[in-house]
């Protein structure tokens, strides 16, 4: 195994570990930092793929990832929790061990689903496709188990991180125009959600999603 493959595998494993760490993290502030760290790792692994394969557009997408996911989005989230005064929020997470066990099962399933695709792939980073799918699933699990708005959104963004990793491991990234469009959508989405958080807080005096469970089929 060459050095680059080992590096890519190392970074991918770090992303998966961070996904697990986010799943168990109660503090909003630490959660944002973990998300930033995941973004940074993602940018680094994209950079390694770029250096190994000499694909120019991968340098751009590594830079874009660094800018958007390691700097801009965490910065917006930090500002948001400060303005919303939920900076020191600690979420009472129940059943962390159970959630972790479900997470492990999801990882095993993801690896099995990804196996036939990885075998067809010829990229240097093909081994990481299972990890990418697992990160998506873990982020999804995080969205389901959280009851506060900000952690749910971080889960949503972490899901996008996993998808990005999938795009660089199965193929060498999507065409540039598509990547730019996705980045724009994510950015606008976070800004709109920021506006939306203030609406929720003004209405309910809290960001607890459990207030938002009244519309149900009777």
């Amino acid at each position: 195994m060459s050095l680059s493959t080992q590096l890519i595998n190392l970074f991918a494993a770090t992303i998966l570990l961070l996904a697990f760490a986010m799943l168990a993290q109660r503090r909003v502030l630490t959660l944002i930092n973990l998300f930033a760290l995941q973004g940074l790792t993602l940018a680094l692994s994209t950079l390694v793929v770029a250096v190994t394969t000499r694909q120019t557009h991968l340098y751009w997408s590594a830079g874009l990832t660094l800018l958007l996911k390691a700097i801009l989005l965490p910065w917006i989230l930090h500002r948001l929790v400060r303005r919303l005064e939920v900076k020191w929020d600690v979420e009472p997470l129940i059943k962390v061990p159970t959630t972790m066990l479900v997470g492990i099962v999801l990882v095993i399933i993801s690896f099995n689903v990804a196996l036939p695709i990885s075998q067809l792939s010829s990229t240097v980073s093909r081994g990481t496709l299972g990890i990418a799918l697992a990160s998506v699933m873990l982020a999804f699990l995080m969205m389901i188990t959280r009851s506060k708005a900000v952690p749910q959104v971080i889960g949503f963004l972490a899901m996008e991180n996993g998808l990005f990793l999938a795009a660089t491991s199965a193929t060498y990234g999507m065409p540039m125009v598509v990547e730019l469009g996705i980045a724009l959508d994510v950015l606008i989405g976070v800004i709109i959600l920021g506006v939306f958080f203030f609406q929720i807080r003004d209405q309910f005096d809290s960001l607890d999603i459990r207030h938002l469970e009244r519309l149900k089929e009777k």
């Binding site: 036939p116 193929t171 065409p175 125009v177 469009g181 989405g189 609406q199 209405q203 309910f204 519309l215």
Partner: protein
């Protein structure tokens, strides 16, 4: 000469930005209508050009217009235009009732135009990645519209809409990545591997295993937006709690565009996978959706919620029709999509005014519309009869085609279809009848409602039931043939 297509995209984008910058002025509603009418005019002329000259590219290979998407473009622009006409007096009444302020109306108008822009872009782009981007942007532009009233219920609906569609659309992105992966192996890393015109040329060479997986993810992802069961939860809430013009465009347009995305991918999946995998999957999802929605209909108390479930039901039927495939079923599916768009938005226009008059959306408190305002009363009644598939309205023709085709090729599905349609008929008719006829105590509205769009839509639906113009038939047939 200025390209008509440029106008189709530039008018909603420019007017959306202008309306956001200018704020709520006296002329803003008129600008909204003029812009929508301009978009419609441009798309109608574009359609005439495509029908005469055949499919073509715009801006290199970035956009591709063929007989299939140009038909959706016209439909989208038309319903956009009538909705903007309807929303003028409707929104003024809401303001007089103190439910909306000037900044909210500004938000509404600019987001409405930007929403039109994202949908037209989604329809015309040649790049399946950009299609995803535009679909996601369509959600983003409407989230704040669903929560426009800022009530606890509307905030909840908007949150659910964002999270569920966000998760759904993430699945679709994974599907798109897999599709790109499959295509790249055939087309190479040229950046063309997401362009539909290239993909359709090599669809037989795409790896069937990957394509099957990609199609599942794409169907689930875009299916969330179509409102396919079990991912439909956001839809009734968003329709019931958002302002009525938004319900009309969500039901009439967004669901169609999401289904269009699935259809494009289905063509590729059918080419790659030897068995009828994609079709069977769509038939299953479609039937499930149809049945579940039909049974939920009878339990509704909110009028907009009920018609939202009716939209889910019809989307299920259309998905089933496309799942069967073949020229006849595709033709019926396309026809039913058109008719559902027109009828359902007409119903929402009538429902909006009725709810405004009675000051409630609860069906038990809406009574005797025919006495307060016969025009609205008849609009709702005729719209309901049309959507329930009573002849001579067009929905009858398309439902009849779907049913007979199912009887011939998939006889097992016929009793399920008939049962679901029967249950839907009984629940909707039983609830609308006392709302239209019966005793009443409602007040007058400060602004006369814009009721013309209701009858324009219903007239077209009626006409399509009696006689489909030959050029429209040709156009439907060509689109149906492309779907395979």
């Amino acid at each position: 000469m200025l390209d008509l297509f440029v106008l189709v995209l530039a008018i909603p984008l420019a007017s959306g930005l202008a309306l956001a910058l200018a704020g709520e002025r006296a002329w803003a509603p008129n600008l909204n209508i003029i812009a929508s009418a301009g978009t419609f005019l441009a798309s109608a002329l574009l359609t005439a050009e495509i029908v005469a000259g055949g499919p073509r590219f715009v801006f290199g290979e970035a956009f591709f217009i063929d007989s299939m998407n140009v038909f959706f473009v016209t439909l989208t622009a038309f319903v956009g235009m009538t909705t903007s006409i309807f929303s003028g007096p409707y929104m003024r009444n809401e303001r007089e009732h103190g439910r909306l302020s000037a900044p909210r109306l500004r938000l509404y108008k600019s987001m409405f135009q930007l929403f039109m822009f994202t949908m037209l872009a989604a329809l015309t782009t040649n790049n399946l990645g950009i299609l995803w981007v535009a679909m996601e942007a369509a959600t983003l532009t409407t989230v704040l519209l669903v929560s426009l009233y800022r009530t606890p219920a509307s905030l909840e609906a908007a949150w659910k809409y964002f999270i569920l569609c966000g998760v759904g659309i993430a699945q679709a992105l994974f599907g798109t990545i897999l599709l790109y992966f499959a295509a790249e192996r055939v087309l190479g890393e040229t950046g063309n591997a997401l362009l539909w015109t290239y993909l359709v040329g090599v669809k037989g060479q795409l790896d069937p295993t990957i394509m099957a997986l990609a199609f599942i993810f794409l169907l689930v992802g875009y299916g969330t937006k179509v409102g396919l069961v079990p991912l439909h939860n956001w839809l009734p809430d968003a329709h019931a709690e958002g302002p009525t013009p938004v319900s009309a465009v969500l039901s009439g347009l967004l669901l169609n565009v999401a289904l269009y995305a699935i259809l494009r991918v289905k063509v590729l999946a059918d080419g790659a996978i030897p068995s009828d995998f994609a079709g069977n999957l769509m038939m299953g999802f479609g039937l499930l959706t149809l049945v579940v929605a039909a049974f939920f209909l009878s339990r509704q108390k909110d009028i907009k919620r009920m018609f939202a479930y009716s939209s889910i039901e019809h989307m299920g039927l259309i998905t089933f029709a496309f799942g069967m495939g073949g020229a006849v079923a595709n033709f019926a599916g396309l026809l039913h999509m058109t008719l559902h768009s027109l009828t359902k938005s007409a119903i929402f226009f009538a429902v909006g005014h009725a709810a405004q008059k009675c000051g409630t959306q609860v069906m038990e408190d809406i009574r005797g519309l025919i006495r307060i305002n016969p025009v609205i009363g008849w609009g709702l009644m005729l719209g309901t009869l049309a959507i329930l598939g009573l002849p001579p309205f067009g929905v009858f023709a398309s439902e009849f085609m779907i049913l007979t085709h199912a009887m011939k090729h998939h006889p097992w599905a016929t009793p399920i279809l008939l049962l679901a349609l029967g249950v839907a008929f009984a629940s909707i008719f039983g609830k609308v009848q006392p709302m239209v006829f019966g005793e009443t105590h409602a007040q007058r509205l400060p602004h006369a409602p814009a009721i013309t769009p209701v009858f324009v839509h219903l007239a077209i639906v009626l006409m399509l039931g009696l006689w489909i113009p030959p050029y429209l038939t040709r156009w439907f047939q060509e689109a149906a043939r492309m779907l395979g």
